[in-house]
């Protein structure tokens, strides 16, 4: 069930220095999140689409991921246009849709899609382990990086354990429904996951201690900034400046 759908590929983006990708994803996301003008937001979506194109990811799967975000966006569309006071533009029965409400919804829709697309293109295209090393080289605290790596390592093991528990329940004719028995069963499964995780953590720690672990972590990975990385970083830098310009340049 768990997989890193986009992490393994051989596109120009996949080959970029992970540190550059993380930094640029961060800057682009933050800048996009605070945009207010449509030309700027549309340019942000364009940039995100260019990145997706360059990463050569399967379009169908990217769209499937966007569905999740847009589910939440839909929730806002269902409410905001009808409650936002402003110039009325549409009327459906007693509901009056305002121009300002629709504008805000459109802005949110474009922004969230741009940010998620950029995240998919730049960050989801690296294995989580690589992200961990990149964050280490970007000077995030060691503890946080190793917490991330350790969590990542064991989600797959624990997910398999959960599937086993769920299968074991199913073969004894457990059929989930809206009742106390169901919730109790799930609560016990979750409790069992925690108990097993804790026992496993103890064994993992023991195994680490047996190999001389005394609380210090080391990182073996080095990244090399290549000439193509310089080219990409200039292109990314320029695109960020254009994006800023579209938002903050005085309108003539």
């Amino acid at each position: 069930m768990l997989s890193e759908t986009f992490a393994f590929g051989d596109s120009a983006i996949h080959r970029l220095d992970p540190r550059l990708r993380v930094v640029f994803a961060g800057l682009l996301s933050i800048l996009t999140a605070i945009l207010n003008r449509f030309p700027a937001v549309i340019f942000a979506v364009f940039l995100a689409l260019v990145l997706i194109g360059a990463s050569r990811l399967p379009v169908r799967q990217v769209l499937a991921r966007l569905a999740v975000v847009n589910g939440l966006v839909l929730f806002i569309w269902l409410i905001l246009p009808w409650t936002f006071e402003g110039t009325p533009v549409v009327e459906i029965g007693p509901l009056v849709g305002s121009w300002e409400g629709i504008r805000l919804c459109a802005l949110i829709t474009l922004k969230s899609n741009a940010i998620i697309l950029a995240l998919i293109a730049l960050v989801a295209t690296m294995p989580v382990a690589t992200l961990g090393y990149a964050l280490h080289h970007l000077h995030l605290p060691d503890k946080l990086v190793y917490l991330l790596l350790m969590t990542y390592r064991y989600i797959f093991v624990i997910e398999t354990e959960y599937q086993q528990l769920a299968r074991a329940a199913r073969i004894r004719c457990f059929k989930p429904g809206t009742n106390l028995h169901t919730y109790k069963t799930y609560a016990y499964m979750v409790g069992m996951l925690f108990v097993r995780a804790s026992a496993r953590a103890q064994r993992v720690h023991q195994a680490m201690v047996c190999r001389g672990f005394s609380g210090k972590f080391y990182c073996l990975h080095e990244f090399a900034f290549k000439s193509s990385d310089w080219a990409w970083s200039s292109a990314m830098g320029i695109s960020l400046i254009v994006l800023g310009g579209l938002e903050w340049a005085p309108i003539v």
């Binding site: 996301s29 940010i115 979750v190 409790g191 996951l193």
Partner: protein
Amino acid sequence: MHISEGVLSAPVLAGGAAFAVAGIAVGLKKLDNNRIPQAGILAAAFFVASLVHVPIGPSSMHLILNGIVGLLMGWAAFPVIAVALVLQAILFQFGGITSLGVNTIIMAGPAVLGYYLFTPFIARGHTTAMAGAFACGFTAVLVSALIAAAALMLTGEAFLEVSAALVAAHIVVMIIEGIITMFCVAFLKKVQPSMLSIG
């Protein structure tokens, strides 16, 4: 529960990020290097458990479990939840980079609150402990929803109705999380009571 990208205003995102960094810093400080494996593997269990879907009527919900994470981890809930959110963002794009701070506060704030408010009850007799555990699961989701609503309201008054709908939509979730937390604590008290005093 989380707020998607592109919704919140810059000051709210920045404020959320600042509080989250502070919370994570406290959590990491309280987490000895030798307990990183423990925290990481429990974080993995929390991550997997939060993918579990339980039915409600014709629909279903995924578990949130921040109440129980608070009881198990105390302040370490901050880095643990932040890491789980990063993994959700990378593996499924549930949320992105800019709302990470706010979403960490939404999930981890109530976890730590629950830890302080309800841990004393958990240690007591069966009925008190069960009531405390239910209240912990219920309150954690309630406070999460309230923080999310506050973040929306601080972004703009226009989000009043959206915020109200968000809280309302989570009332059933609160009850179910309360029930799940109650049974889960009962399970842990029987099977591995030492886990509930971690913190």
